[in-house]
Amino acid sequence: MDYVSNTVTERNEMLKEIGVETVEEIFNSIPEEVKLKRELKVSGGMSELALKDYMQEISEKNSSLVHYTSFLGAGAYDHYVPGIIDHLISRQEFYTAYTPYQAELSQGTLQVIYEYQSMICELTGMGVANASLLDGGSATAEAILMAARISRNKKILLSAGLHPAYREVAHTYGVPKNLNFVQIGLEGTTTNLTELEENLDKDVAAVVVQYPNFYGSIEEMEKIKELKQQYKKVLLIVVTNPIALGLLKPPGEFGADIVTGEGQPLGNPLNYGGPYLGFLSCKDERKYIRQIPGRIAGATEDVEGNVGYVLTLQTREQHIRRDKATSNMCTNEALNAAISTIYMATMGKAGLREVAEKSFKKAHYLAEKIDELDKFNVLNMDNFFYEFKVETKLPVKKVLSDLKQEKILGGVNLSRFDEEGILLSVTEKRTKEELDRLVQLMEAM
């Protein structure tokens, strides 16, 4: 099956119109020396049935979350996803559309982006948001580049409480632009504020903290705000989890200049790490808006005065500004942004808060019980949201593999990030029975 539907007769008719005998003739503009003179060695040609069987077979070599109770988080969270989302985004008009270049035939996509921007602004407490970036990691990197352009400085203070993978992506993006990264260490599980203060000076472009941070802990945002405000040009970038903002005070109220993060928790399936979406919002000021990377939708009116939506402020973008663009962003994660929009609309004011609350409470119920165990200790018992760090004298690898025998994924082994301990995340999906069972098994170790 190749989805080609011209018949032999039609092909001949077309060739005649073109004025050639064979299709190969059209390819004569490719010099012989670079022509591939053999068939591609790519297996395939499967029927739909064969393909489904084959992929089903491959899937059975995986052990998916269907088989487990999962306490994995660390940037990708197993929240409940309302069933209507997949139905709605599967409507082909959303699903198979291109970037909304012709606004008049793309009002659906454009209005969804406008609603998405509005709700991201509301959640983060900021004035303006873009239409999405590629993921939380690259969005953090884009936010840092944006801050460097605004402040015209090169020094970036990165909290060690920022997700290690985000820190790595930030380096990948920042080093070619000669950014100078200084890592600010931790005190317990939150950013060491003395160290932050010592490193802050007028040459700093941005301070980057995560809220709640990689360990689930809530940074001392009030103090960070105070420190940052001593220097006029320094920007505060807050990387955040949008679910936590159902309950927590938005970063905008703590002096954030740019807020960014991973939008996956807002209704996106886990999909082994992607496609997810990066969100980015900032202050509603000219000098910020001018430097936003990626697309932005705006409301306007048509010639008859009806409300309509367009992509706007496009002179920031690569297709117009080319080498002087704010970013190379073109394709973003529009469909994932649509997922998050529908999620935020469905859960709404009460639902988002309830998800955050239930995740928080269940996580604390579990953490308290684990902390009581002899062989385990919760490092940030007094300060976390729905993710916490557990230490143990037992070999972590064995603890996790023993739990896996019992069909539990008992958290992320921090050895992956050259650190000891386990990072556990609890969402509203976990039942009391699952939490109690985990504690029981850990107690027996």
């Binding site: 539907s5 503009s29 490719i30 591939l36 591609l40 297996s43 489904k52 052990s63 909304p100």
Partner: protein, 478 residues
């Protein structure tokens, strides 16, 4: 008809969700979080499930997708997105995977990802691929960072990237993000790289030339070997922008044209849906000598198992927090396994046949600025119509009135009043004829009733939108 905003459906206390019960004893959150860290209000919609379903269904009805009809956007390869790929991507054993699960739980996915890498390397003539970049531009950035890292590692100072004036805007933007300065070169009268101009631009500070071949005019750069030699002789590398791979798959391979690095847009050539502007996937391929610089981690295989290799001291680092747009990769793999090598080649043939048929039918009515043979796409100019009072933009909007999507317009920049048309192979002669007839009819309208075209669109849900107002008085949220 306009659809109001979801927030306007709100009624205090209305809910559209249900969550699992708390079950556990009540926890006082104030015991753990300071009072000043709780938010006061959250102004999100308060709507029912039915409200949500109706609202977003209504919005979808204001859109146009590939399933609605022809989508001839040049350089965008809007081919049919097979439904079976969607079914495959939703198999729970493939999708319900957490990025930090143990590798032993992921051997099935690794198996197909590994084969996908191998297939893409074979199709493009490269030695190794990374699946991490999440879009075409992301792939460009990754590829250029690899080039940068390579020269740094070798202790060779390079700071320039050459980009033809017909290139996609992402090329110069990506090169600047990767820390390079841009040297733009003009195309020659046939729409190809001007060899003399290239020679002039090349020196020992040039790290790379970025090229798409066929170029954005759909024309194959026949001097590609000479171009490659010029760059390589000066110690630079050749970067291939794979947005146009649909033109040559099975007929020629960038690797055999001596390109050193490339990216492929899986959301174009390999049929995964665009979703209104993403997700995409911009996998990057390199020649052997660039392997050490690929982003971490690299998917490998030993005697028994597949695994991620993180021990990559010369790697550029990560460009994505996890492994890229995995969900897109599943669909691209399903597509490749459906077609196989022969099918992919037939795809190319028909994409080229369709484009050339349209060109033959339309070149009299419109102007054809470049006469060279073109492959999967071609560029017309609306200068004749513009003289009669209707611009390319006007004609594009008029196409919408006829329920068909418009081509890419005003790109490439080297053509005045450009209309860049790429029908793809999944359209047949009937849909092509319908589109051709519509364009001809619009050209007649320009002749007889230019005002009708100038004021288009007339039949869409909204009419011509005021972009000046949108930019002067930005209204970016409710």
């Amino acid at each position: 008809m306009a659809e109001r905003l979801i927030i306007d459906y709100s009624s205090p206390g209305r809910k559209g969700y249900s969550l699992p019960p708390l079950e556990i004893p009540e926890v006082d959150m104030g015991d753990y979080i300071k009072e000043s860290y709780f938010r006061d209000e959250l102004k999100l919609p308060e709507v029912s499930e039915v409200d949500v379903v109706r609202h977003y269904t209504a919005l979808s009805e204001l859109n146009y997708g590939v399933d609605s009809g022809i989508y001839p956007l040049g350089s965008c390869t809007m081919k049919y997105n097979p439904k079976r790929n969607e079914d495959i991507a939703r198999i729970e054993g493939l999708s319900q995977l957490h990025p930090y699960q143990d590798e032993e739980d992921l051997q099935g996915s690794f198996e197909f990802l590994y084969e996908l890498k191998r297939d893409l390397a074979e199709i493009s003539g490269m030695d190794e691929m990374t699946l991490q970049p999440a879009s075409g531009a992301h792939g460009e950035l990754t590829g250029l960072l690899i080039i940068r890292e390579y020269f740094e590692d070798k202790g060779i100072e390079k700071n320039k990237v050459i980009v033809p004036d017909s290139a996609h805007g992402t090329n110069p933007a990506s090169a600047v993000m990767a820390g390079f300065d841009i040297v733009e070169i003009e195309s020659n009268k046939d729409g190809m790289v001007d060899i003399d101009e290239l020679k002039e631009a090349v020196d020992d500070k040039v790290a790379a030339l970025m090229l798409t071949n066929p170029n954005t005019l759909g024309i194959f750069e026949k001097d590609i070997k000479e171009i490659a030699d010029i760059i390589h002789d000066a110690g630079g590398l050749l970067y291939y922008d794979g947005a146009n791979l649909n033109a040559i798959m099975g007929y020629a391979r960038p690797g055999d044209m001596d390109f050193d690095v490339l990216h492929l847009n899986l959301h174009k050539t390999f049929s995964t849906p665009h979703g209104g502007g993403g997700p995409g996937s911009g996998t990057v391929g390199v020649k052997e000598f660039l392997r050490p610089y690929l982003p971490r981690p690299v998917l490998k295989k030993d005697d028994k198992n597949y695994y991620w290799d993180y021990d990559r001291p010369k790697s550029i680092g990560k460009v994505h927090a996890f492994y890229g747009n995995y969900g897109v990769l599943v669909k691209a793999f399903s597509y490749i396994k459906t077609l196989g090598g022969k099918g992919l080649t037939r795809t190319t043939e028909n994409a080229v046949l369709n484009a050339n048929y349209m060109k033959a039918k339309l070149k009299e009515e419109f102007s054809l600025p470049y006469q060279e043979n073109s492959l999967h796409e071609f560029v017309l100019s609306g200068v004749k119509q513009k003289e009669k009072g209707a611009s390319t933009l006007n004609m594009a909007k008029r196409l919408l009135d006829y329920g068909q999507y418009a081509p890419t317009i005003y790109f490439p920049l080297v053509v005045k009043e450009a209309m860049m048309i790429e029908p793809t192979e999944t359209e047949n002669i009937d849909t092509l004829n319908r589109f051709i007839e519509t364009l001809q009819k619009i050209s007649e309208e320009v002749e007889n009733n230019p005002e009708l075209v100038k004021n288009a669109p007339h039949n869409t849900s909204v009419r011509k939108l005021d972009e000046v107002k949108a930019a002067r008085q930005p209204d970016l949220r409710w």
